[in-house]
Symmetry: C2
Subunit: 366 residues, 2 copies
């Protein structure tokens, strides 16, 4: 065997030789933020039936699962995202749900099922990506399930903790609360709309803009720091990540809280790359910004009186948010511009019908 | 539309109309056994980013993930297992890992990704199976991820709690401890070996025996009650479920604990149906009993002095276990019969090579 020949080890070997490199030596770690007493007593290194946490003081525990196969992998299939990138994304997507609750991640379980043709080097890259994301977001991959499957399948579960009673639900918004978002949305959706169709557009985007779109997938940031600030007082009355796209997120906050939302078009941040893709697609940039897109921004509501203090804390930590609207009493989500009021534009996430091309075909509100 | 025409709702509709039927109204439940203070404050009914548990007293939390696609679904593809059955199996498989830690399940997160051709009725059956298993094992499906995929994919994560310090690891066996199992192994593997090849054998099994093999898949029992008894003192010094097959389980307990095992062939329970399938396959019944098989028995070690008290508690609860061997100092797993000592027979679970047909081809020890 030459050095560069692909190696296809069986699953116990991959666990022992590849996974252990990244996840060894974690049992015994103090995994919770200051003041909360949570010890990871049995981690991935122990290779037991489960990971084990010893919780010594009252905490609020949050846990959620995200599967990330599907259309969003098209950029991986096109060779634009590496095996490392999709491992990183898997971890970020799951940790984002923890951030959306205002919690601090204490562990990730990752399911990695790979086709026969994925060699040890590719598998190792997936694990390396998961490990890097966990490191970047301050947590550990404490377990999961690996083995083969007909095709690559990635799924995860993240756990987090926060102080008792400080969790951020979707249901707490009241009329009059301001609606905010931690940054521009729609980049990941725009990337999926752009790259597969790149050769059919009348021109390509500038290289830097293409890189920005790709980086939205390669370096997604779960808003853990933002979530922790929002949970402090708690400042946020309701919170959700925008991984279904901004329109769907606003609608879900609306339904959960029993309010309406009035969004000010001019206040919604639109990324220049999203604007450019929208122009190539001949669709409304706001519609593309709000459509199905696996962004990990946080959308949240906050009492107007709390905005100055919350902004000061964000600024002190180098973080930012934008006020884009207001919760109303009327149970509808609308956008307002100089011409009046209309329904939120964009294609909301629905698994069977989340094709962003609907925007261009005119079957979606734009 | 007639009453019987298949319906294919989109994913938000399935969450709202089908999932909610089963998982509504769980937020606010006290989910832990007596004395442990764990409240499910945000359950699946809330449809938030995560499920939320408020933990008011010190607990040990265990969490594990199991993906259940793969060769084991062959009986579903053959039409022998229903959509309900595989939902049930998904939940049982994940809860079994909690049982193996001696913990009590407090929640399940299930990932259900389905192909376009699965209609609402089929999807509903998967969810109903998950719900039934959660009910049977005393827990709740508190969240997860649903949506479509190229083919049916089921994955889960289970959480459990036990009293601080009472968790059952794989690593605690000492030389001299007795090796035990809660029941006969190999049934699920025998079913997978039998049904796809049924027409090639010289005869079929009796109907009742076929039903027993199918029921091993349709009505798997996660050994939650057994695990709780074993964790009480704790009686068990090490414990693992047999979902990789008995041989692999014994080998893993051996490696984790740094001991060896001497198994007495005559003490290993062999189910009559497994014996019959082995005869049809012309393999050693003990080898088939110990080979890759997704059983949910518990294999555990216990100090000899503790056996009478532990057995009394098992009996009082209508439970049973069998002593099949002993931990040794020599770091090898062997089986002993009247003819002497030999390596453990059977094909241990390895994802690339767990094909039970290896038994018949003579490439595995038998």
């Amino acid at each position: 065997m030459t050095l560069n020949e692909p190696v296809y080890s069986d699953e116990p070997t991959r666990v022992r030789q590849l996974v252990s490199q990244f996840f060894g030596d974690q049992s015994g770690s103090d995994v919770a933020p200051d003041g909360l007493d949570v010890l990871l007593s049995v981690g991935a290194d122990a290779r037991d039936d489960c990971a084990v946490y010893d919780i010594g003081s009252p905490v609020t525990l949050v846990v959620g699962s995200d599967y990330i196969r599907g259309p969003k992998f098209i950029l991986h299939e096109l060779g634009l995202l590496s095996d490392f990138d999709i491992g990183y994304y898997l971890a970020a997507a799951n940790i984002s749900d923890i951030a959306a609750m205002g919690a601090t991640p204490i562990g990730l379980l990752s399911v990695i099922r790979y086709p026969h043709e994925m060699d040890d080097a590719g598998f190792r890259q997936v694990v390396a990506g998961i490990h890097q994301a966990c490191t970047d977001f301050g947590t550990l991959n404490v377990g999961g399930d690996i083995g083969n499957a007909e095709r690559l399948i990635l799924s995860g579960t993240a756990l987090g903790v926060c102080r008792p009673g400080k969790v951020l639900k979707r249901s707490g918004a009241s009329p009059g609360d301001l609606l905010c978002v931690t940054g521009a949305c729609g980049l990941l959706g725009a990337a999926v709309a752009y790259f597969p169709q790149r050769d059919t557009f009348r021109r390509a985007l500038p290289v830097e803009m293409e890189q920005e779109l790709l980086d939205s997938w390669k370096k997604p940031r779960a808003r853990v720091a933002e979530g922790r600030v929002l949970a402090q007082k708690p400042y946020a009355t309701a919170c959700q990540d925008t991984s279904d796209g901004l329109k769907a997120t606003i609608e879900q906050l609306m339904h959960a809280s029993g309010v309406g939302f009035r969004v000010n078009e001019r206040d919604v941040p639109v990324d220049p790359a999203v604007r450019e893709v929208a122009e190539l697609m001949k669709v409304n940039p706001l519609a593309l910004t709000m459509s199905a897109s696996s962004d990990f921004q946080l959308a949240f509501t906050i009492a107007a009186d709390d905005v100055p203090a919350c902004r000061a804390e964000f600024t002190a930590s180098g973080l930012d948010f934008v006020v884009i609207g207001e919760a109303t009493e009327d149970g509808e989500a609308v956008v307002v511009d100089d011409n009046g009021v209309r329904p939120l534009p964009g294609v909301a996430w629905k698994h069977q019908k989340s094709d962003i091309s609907l925007l261009a075909s005119g079957t979606a509100d734009a």
